[in-house]
Symmetry: C2
DNA sequence: CCTTTCTCGACTATTTTGGTCGGGAAACTT
DNA sequence: AAGTTTCCCGACCAAAATAGTCGAGAAAGG
């Protein structure tokens, strides 16, 4: 029903937030939780898991927190979601893509369609880097400024 | 996590089964349940709902059952899933596609990606007719026959 | 009127999701 | 060394969604 779970979205937003601070030292769970509107205690769990992905690392103590170990343009949304949905972390996707989930051993009239769908989804995820998302954010803000001008506010040159 | 729910898959398979018998009068729930490996009592519920979609109709009594009211090449997978996921039947899809599900009012760095994904999925669903699936089934059987030949069985000419 | 099949609403069970909690362990400060 | 501050870990819990069941009734036809 849902494109993805809240947990996956939290994972993505957390990494997105880390990317904003990329190269500036660790970011605390509490800060990520605040700016991305994620329950802090739950985020702990998620980031803990994400350490297994090789995308993030952490440090304890006063100046501790989480940080990325690749640059934002070398991390794709697909990297994140593939890890979050890997068999060790959760169940394989439903539908006859895999033999196990098909009453006809994955050899049914629908399996080709399910595969197409899964491929189409991951084609987008794999083509979207965290840097792309940062750029979207930037554009979004610029666009909003433009709108505000039209609505009558003056801009200092 | 899952591409779609079991219920949606059951709905699709049920209509697929009806399509096989298209034009040959009604098919009983019990038969669909058997050939498509769906719990009969649950299928009752699903087909009951599907009547609201304008795709199927039913008849009671000994010669009763369900039947399609459009031809299989005029029904797409999209028609079925869009109906099954319509607000009256279930919740709107998660992720920032709609304002309601986004902590930042649908105006976030991710919304564009979520929309792309949703569109990509439905592009496939809408392009796949039930007739297409019937054709896949046919090809699948032919292919299997071919394989059986290769494995040593003789074919009568 | 008898059988068969759909019909309807309520009801239940199971799984997944979305979280919480308490206490411990590293890191840095003073 | 003591004290903060942060991550770390495993268990635990609650709510929602999903998957499925049940009993009684109502049309259709023989």
């Amino acid at each position: 029903m849902a494109i993805t779970s809240k947990k996956n979205q939290y994972a993505l937003r957390a990494i997105f937030e880390l990317a904003k601070h990329s190269g500036k030292g660790p970011t605390k769970i509490s800060e990520i939780a605040r700016t991305q509107a994620i329950p802090a205690r739950f985020l702990e769990v998620i980031l803990g898991q994400l350490k297994g992905s090789g995308l993030v690392e952490s440090k304890r103590g006063f100046y501790g927190g989480y940080y990325l170990i690749r640059s934002p343009d070398e991390i794709t949304v697909g990297d994140i979601f593939r890890f979050m949905e890997s068999p060790s972390n959760g169940a394989e996707c439903l539908a006859c893509v895999s033999k196990a989930n098909c009453p006809f051993d994955g050899n049914c009239a629908f399996s080709s369609m399910w595969r197409q769908v899964k491929d189409a989804i991951y084609q987008i995820y794999d083509a979207t880097t965290i840097q792309d998302l940062l750029n979207h954010e930037k554009q979004r803000i610029t666009a909003r400024t433009g709108v505000q001008n039209l609505s009558g506010e003056a801009t200092r040159i």
